[in-house]
């Protein structure tokens, strides 16, 4: 499997990223892309075992791009099924993967950026504006996802790519919850107000405006 082959496949599959496409066809495409994803992960792992960081990062980037497509297609399927809350989660997963793809390796910046822009636009056109929330906490201990050491003790930088994986911070001890803020630029767009009201009278779903028990 070659990089060019994957890029062409991603380009070809982008024609399914429209809400008018048939649900069954979208689901078939998701299954096919999941097979491609497995092959890409295999390639990435081969390069990781060979300690070839450049190639490992490139194949992580390609893996993220395939995940962009899978999540994008899934978003349309879920919208068709009348599940906009989970469709939103798929949209955010698509956006995040487009972001990580660029972080991992800029193999074709214009092409990767186009996907990021595409899903940013879909957010604006397909979904109502959201009220995001952001938790604030006093963190006492956290570890690096790459080497599992205390975050202060290693040299890995959060958000950067190392040997086929993005470094993240895993919080292991929260000393105190500080506050919950409403924000316009959250770190995690899945943290949002989903409902208003309580159970009596029924709460209202802010995506559908339907009252739910």
């Amino acid at each position: 499997m070659e990089r060019k082959e994957i890029v062409n496949l991603i380009k070809e599959k982008s024609r399914y990223l429209y809400i008018t496409r048939d649900q069954v066809i979208l689901e078939e495409q998701i299954s096919l892309l999941k097979e491609t994803e497995k092959d890409i992960i295999e390639m990435k792992e081969k390069y990781i075992s060979e300690r070839n960081e450049e190639q490992a990062n490139l194949w992580l980037s390609l893996e993220c791009m395939v995940k962009v497509l899978i999540n994008g297609l899934m978003m349309f399927v879920l919208l068709k099924k009348g599940d906009p809350d989970n469709a939103w989660n798929s949209l955010i997963d698509a956006q995040n993967n487009a972001h990580w793809s660029i972080i991992a390796c800029e193999f074709d910046r214009e092409f990767q950026q186009a996907y990021l822009n595409h899903f940013d636009q879909l957010e604006k056109w397909l979904f109502p504006p959201q009220t995001f929330v952001s938790p604030s906490m006093r963190v006492e201990l956290s570890e690096c996802s790459v080497c599992k050491k205390n975050m202060l003790d290693c040299d890995h930088i959060r958000g950067q790519c190392y040997m086929g994986q993005i470094c993240t911070e895993v919080v292991t001890k929260i000393k105190q919850f500080n506050h919950l803020a409403m924000v316009s630029n959250p770190a995690d767009k899945k943290c949002r107000n989903t409902h208003v009201g309580n159970t009596n009278p029924p709460k209202q779903n802010l995506m559908t405006l339907k009252n739910e028990e």
């Binding site: 660029i102 006093r138 963190v139 006492e140 890995h156 930088i157 500080n178 770190a187």
Partner: protein, 172 residues
């Protein structure tokens, strides 16, 4: 929007000594709001102080926290800036021995910010907030704040270079 602001700053040595800390001969990494700190139990570092430590360490820039033997908590806000940076203090003595250290530090931070902002375009460039405290003369402190998009952060570097140049001209 004004990207760069400068103003006087209280004598941070007095504050540190009052709280039982001594001023190090290195880049001093302090929690934001240090000047308002009432007691040491409230010390809370900004979320990315550990990233700043790693960057300084990998570039052989000497640094110190408030106390080398204490492990501090940090405030994790899952929003706001791309990096939540701590307060960086440069003392007079340290600057005398290392006249290029402020520029060197800002350069490595600019490089980090550039890498972290790769997926963003100039139009949606994430926000950066960095405060530097410089002891210009013994016990006379000045605050330099950059608050704006990452895409314009180079302006802060240029501004601090001009501050340095003007200082050198005055001294000579």
């Amino acid at each position: 929007m004004e990207l760069i602001k400068t103003e006087g700053y209280p004598n941070i040595r007095l504050k540190a000594e009052k709280l039982g800390f001594s001023v190090p001969n290195s880049v001093w990494i302090l929690p934001k709001g240090f000047e308002q700190l009432k007691d040491t139990s409230a010390i809370l570092y900004d979320a990315d102080y550990d990233t700043v430590i790693k960057i300084l360490r990998s570039n052989n820039i000497p640094y110190s926290l408030l106390d080398a033997n204490t492990s501090f908590s940090k405030l994790q806000n899952n929003s706001f800036e791309i990096l939540s940076l701590p307060l960086l203090v440069f003392t007079y003595e340290f600057l005398k021995e290392n006249p290029e250290i402020i520029i060197q530090t800002i350069k490595v931070l600019a490089d980090l910010l550039r890498r972290q902002s790769k997926p963003y375009t100039k139009e949606n460039s994430p926000n950066v907030n960095l405060t530097i405290i410089k002891e210009e003369k013994p016990s006379s402190f000045k605050k330099y704040v950059y608050n704006g998009p990452e895409s314009s952060f180079e302006k802060f570097l240029e501004y601090m270079k001009s501050v340095d140049e003007n200082g050198k001209k005055r001294d000579s």
